[in-house]
């Protein structure tokens, strides 16, 4: 699933919120936050698969690529993202920023998807979409060796 399309989908939800008064607006805002998080999650899955098995156009096994894509677990990925800065691994700024936003957005998605009393304004939901978009761009701009190191950090547990 392409993360870019998920960002577009989140924006469509926010745009429909702007023109639809009342209850659907909250539903759209909540779904927009959730979708922004999933854009970040699928970006990470794609980075893991591409950096381990090979990107589009590479001589790669599709089965291996799909297996790598599905190696990322939400909870452990957030935990590793939280640790990425704290433990001083020397990741570049783009990866640190991505890791921070991933953890922030996952927490917010949890509220948006599961807390009955959760409410969020169009502006705040839009801010989360922008944060996700910026974080994805920043990650993509990092060197391959750094992205691969981050993917190893996220996908493999330490013993």
């Amino acid at each position: 699933m392409k993360s870019d399309y998920l960002i577009i989908s989140a924006r469509i939800l926010i745009d429909s919120s702007r023109v639809s008064p009342g209850q659907p607006k909250q539903v759209n805002n909540r779904r927009a936050v959730s979708t922004a998080y999933y854009a970040m999650f699928h970006e990470l899955c794609g980075q893991v698969a591409d950096t381990f098995v090979g990107g589009t156009g590479a001589d790669r096994s599709e089965k291996a690529w799909q297996q790598a894509y599905r190696a990322v677990n939400h909870g452990s990925a957030a935990q590793r993202c939280k640790e990425a800065k704290a433990q001083g691994h020397g990741f570049p700024a783009g990866i640190i920023s991505y890791a921070k936003e991933f953890a922030d957005l996952q927490q917010e998605r949890h509220e948006a998807d599961y807390a009955p009393s959760y409410r969020i304004s169009v502006r705040d939901a839009e801010a989360f979409i922008l944060r996700a978009e910026d974080a994805i761009s920043g990650l993509r701009a990092c060197q391959l060796k750094d992205r691969r190191a981050f993917c190893v950090w996220v996908a493999f547990s330490r013993r």
Partner: protein, 93 residues
């Protein structure tokens, strides 16, 4: 973490937030110590801001602040992850 350490950290966060967010748009600030959805002790920083800037400007404040706060939340209980979010007033209908 002692009560004093927690209060000191809250005050430090307050100062950092006010260094990064213009006073004319910041209406309130919540700093809470609680467990996150993963069950870990964390810090929740919520910025209440007035409507009036572009979303891009609000995001720039949040991103800079987010990055800065991570340098400050090492405590005697270890690193507490600072979750940062905003509550921007809705524009007038």
């Amino acid at each position: 973490m002692t009560r004093t350490e927690r209060d000191d950290l809250s005050r430090r966060i307050d100062v950092i937030v006010r260094e990064h967010v213009p006073a004319d748009i910041l209406t309130n600030l919540d700093v809470d110590f609680d467990r996150d959805h993963l069950g870990e002790d964390s810090i929740f920083v919520v910025l209440h801001m007035k409507y009036g800037r572009t979303t891009r400007e609000y995001v720039d404040f949040l991103q800079t602040l987010s990055s800065r706060l991570m340098d400050e939340t090492h405590t005697s209980d270890g690193f507490l992850f600072p979750y940062v979010s905003s509550r921007i007033e809705e524009e007038a209908a």
